[in-house]
Symmetry: C2
Subunit: 228 residues, 2 copies
DNA sequence: GCTAGTATACTTGTCTGACGATTAAGCCCC
DNA sequence: GGGGCTTAATCGTCAGACAAGTATACTAGC
């Protein structure tokens, strides 16, 4: 099957399920940045052995969803400004290549269009977390449509960190979801028109907006903290 | 024959040293493609416990240096034509972004220049494996100079697979190393001139050549196999 | 003789339990 | 009150064990 599978490690239900669950809790912001995740805690919470928990934490660390140095407890990272810039630079690199490739053959990927439709329909009443997921699904579909396993693999990692950062700001949304939807539409349109240049340009603009929103929230939060 | 693992490097020395050693053996072609690597074998060869060996194999699997599915033994992958094309597509994506960024500020990274010099000086008598390493070092330095942690991270993974594939063809070199050196020079020159377009174009040409060499060897090997 | 189905060996996934090593924290003494 | 020492918490690694899945060899039947 298509599997689309993620990458890497040989999946076996338990380890994988554990990984998925912890990952979800992290990217959704359920586990706050700075929070410590000990092997024992995970093992306890999920009733698995410590080695199993350890493997899970190592996987997440490799993906940048946890930070850990030898003999120290893993913590959920809080991305700072530099991190976010770096993240979006890498993200743009990957996604530019993707939309350019799609535009060259004027291929509008179905899954992306579908994600768009869903997002549009439910823009008003969707929970913020769901909107983030729809957003991620859109970009994910875009890259997946290129058909490059390795590009998708890289992108997954990047999006993981993006998801993490967005998840941590869950409470305060800064823009109406329809703005995002429109930006997405612009990208799809350029792809459909077979215009790689415009597609890249629209994408760059969209990512720039997104990055700006994240940076804005970061600054706001920090200044709020300072006064509190 | 038994790998002395007493290097003192990195954080949690044992696991890391083991990983480095096995990785080196794989990318150098010491462990042939198709060869099976069981946890027990690694554990035995290095006198470590099976969990330690397991972690090592999982790490390598995550980087694409091993393939493994649940309950099956890990094997060193042999990249086919599609893999190589995919690999080089991804590689080009990352490195294009890198050289463009460097050219924009006309920054010729010292380490890259140094790698070039070394390669040039020893082009004649260097062992093939060393030339491959110098080549890799050059490209690595190029990307590292951009200063993006995440771009470098992606690139490392890509280069791992590139190294692997090159290592497997060690015996038969198909081009004089000076050709590679000249292609590298062209790229550096374009960067130094602050010409992102030309830098990308030179890079693309270089990668195209490299990919062509790999594909050629693959085909030659396969036809040789057919007659043998 | 050959195919098919079963039995066996191998390998991995996970667990339990344990020990030394390292880091962080708390306490005592000066 | 500060510095050094003891203690607690946590990680790194190990050993051994069992179940579950996979691959292979062997036997049985045609």
């Amino acid at each position: 099957m298509d599997g689309q599978t993620s990458f890497s490690l040989g999946p076996s239900s338990l380890t994988d399920a554990l990984y998925e669950s912890v990952r979800k809790r992290i990217v959704n912001g359920e586990i706050a940045p700075g929070e410590k995740l000990t092997e024992i805690r995970i093992a306890g919470e999920y009733s698995v052995a410590r080695p199993t928990a350890k493997a899970c934490l190592e996987r997440l660390t490799a993906l940048g969803l946890l930070r850990r140095t030898a003999h120290k407890t893993a913590v959920v990272p809080k991305l700072d400004e530099d991190d976010i810039r770096d993240l979006y630079f890498s993200r743009e690199t990957v996604e530019r290549a993707a939309v350019a490739a799609l535009a060259r053959t004027a291929t509008v990927p179905q899954p992306a269009a579908r994600a768009q439709a869903a997002m549009k329909a439910a823009a008003g009443d969707m929970a913020f977390a769901s909107q983030v997921e729809a957003d991620i699904a859109f970009h994910s579909a875009l890259v997946a449509a290129v058909g490059s396993r390795r590009l998708s693999r890289m992108h997954e990692v990047i999006l993981g960190e993006v998801h993490l950062t967005m998840g941590q700001f869950q409470a305060h949304r800064t823009t109406h979801p329809m703005n995002v939807v429109h930006e997405h539409d612009d990208i799809l349109k350029a792809i459909g028109d077979g215009d790689p240049e415009r597609a890249q340009q629209r994408l760059a603009h969209h990512l720039d907006q997104a990055q700006g929103r994240l940076l804005g929230q970061l600054r706001r939060e920090r200044s709020g903290e300072a006064t509190a």
